[in-house]
Symmetry: C2
Subunit: 305 residues, 2 copies
């Protein structure tokens, strides 16, 4: 069993590479749910959806999220009715939120996710980080914002002073997550945002302890290449939090948990700073700009086990 810790787009791409590189071994992807929120009365889990759509080969390649070639007829009508439309919901995409919201009346999020993933033909296990709600809250000069408020509605324009994960202290791990971590021979920290994608996962104390005590090798992949995040507000966010927006800056966040760190070959000169943390360092091409590069990175990751 290989376990990946994932946020949205970047983690989904590496998970895809891992799944397609594994012959007979199973992949379990533990996914951030700190971004989950309720809109139009629907329970929306953006990172779960992105991972599922990506593994099902349904994802929109232009954005990384949503379904390829989706239409937005419902959203156009919602706008006409004066409903909020700052969160893009395609017609094909809408169905997963309706189905999940409905199924959640009777089942845990983990069970609901298994049903949805199976329906989409996903062969890996997709595991929400917890069946309890954990809500990522962003502290800005304008006060504390709900995650999607910061991320989508206000387009990540706010300075980030801090991040907190409401509910994380009380959240517990599902039997499915505990079993996956116990069986893992490798735990992969995907190149997702370490603050708001991997951060919420590790903020659950039981998760942090389970990963720390797992027998598996643990490897992290840098989401920063040459001082730039491949996607999203990571660099500005790390600066706002007083962290160095670089591969070594990310490595420091994970140093107590991982054995190995993979950074982009453009950052090879930074390897000694990471090695100094006691980590094995590998430099390779980490930009997953096409399917073959996803597989390449996955193979480098799997070689760490």
């Amino acid at each position: 069993m290989i376990v990946a810790l994932s946020g949205g787009v970047g983690g989904a791409k590496l998970s895809w590479g891992l799944e397609r590189s594994l012959a007979n071994e199973e992949l379990a992807v533990i996914v951030n749910t700190g971004d989950d929120f309720i809109l139009h009365g629907l329970y929306i889990a953006p990172d779960l959806d992105t991972v599922m759509y990506t593994l099902a080969d349904l994802a929109n390649p232009a954005t990384g999220w949503g379904i390829a070639n989706d239409t937005f007829h419902a959203l156009a009508m919602l706008e006409r009715y004066g409903q909020p439309v700052w969160f893009q919901l395609g017609d094909r995409d809408l169905a997963i939120h309706l189905a999940r919201t409905n199924l959640l009346r009777q089942q845990r999020l983990t069970e609901v996710t298994a049903t949805l993933a199976q329906a989409l033909g996903v062969r890996s296990r997709i595991l929400p980080m917890s069946d309890q709600r954990v809500e990522t809250r962003i502290l800005t000069p304008d006060g504390e914002l709900a995650f999607q408020d910061y991320f989508v509605r206000r387009r990540q324009q706010d300075l980030v002073h801090g991040v907190r994960f409401q509910g994380a202290e009380q959240a517990t791990l599902s039997p499915e997550v505990l079993a996956a971590l116990a069986q893992a021979r490798l735990i992969v920290f995907c190149p997702s945002n370490p603050i708001i994608s991997i951060g919420p996962i590790l903020a659950v104390p039981e998760m942090h302890a389970a990963i720390a005590s797992a027998q598996a090798r643990k490897v992290a992949v840098s989401p920063i290449i040459a001082g730039q995040a491949v996607k999203g507000p990571l660099v500005a966010m790390m600066q706002g939090l007083g962290l160095e927006p670089s591969a070594p800056g990310v490595a420091r966040l994970y140093a107590d948990l991982v054995d190995s760190f993979i950074l982009d070959q453009q950052d090879a000169h930074l390897a000694p700073q990471i090695a100094a943390l006691g980590l094995k360092v590998t430099a390779t091409n980490t930009l997953m700009s096409d399917h073959s590069r996803r597989r390449h990175l996955a193979e480098v990751v799997l070689a760490q086990a």
Copy 2:
């Protein structure tokens, strides 16, 4: 003020004709909500939607319900997730159920309907028959069925022994309905199914009393032409209930409430049976197969005032 009592397609078409035939006078349409139900966690009000879409010139002309040229991408995905898809929900149509369900958390159905109708540019008042739930239940040899179960899922194949309107006894009229009835100079019983479309409206005791005591002239239009219903299971239903499936059969159901009755010219020979009930009878072309025929019937109706 003209008030129409309406179910779905037939009532919506005559309401359209009435609205377009009225210059400066307002139309209020009191709409059956006995068909309303919850599916996918959404509050769906089929007759309200059909009336609104028709008055907004959005209705699908092929079916009479739903939105013209709608797509069904969300429904196809819902099917993939194993969710029930026996009730057709187009992508554009989905939005009204989402918006309504959301708005109902804070407002009465009458207020929500006003918001939605205004957003669609409807100039008439669309009034749910009550803000309380009334549920039409169909008694069949297989037991009692929820309305949509009988009507859509089981395709009206069951023999109908009886109909009951759960909640009707306790339901009250909204201030908006009371005001409309008080101001009306003409109350129109649209050519909707008298058992399951107009029936639930009249089953609310306060409604029956308010219509009976209203100063307005009251006119009904037969939904049966030459022994056939223009649409739906009315003939078999009337037979199952021991009623004569004809214009006079319908007239008998309304005889205690209406002054006038309009039947199709094909049924002109039946006029004496209806006149014998004490009603003024008019025969005309009642089939609303195009816009000009909707207007024609509306003008004959308005001439009764």
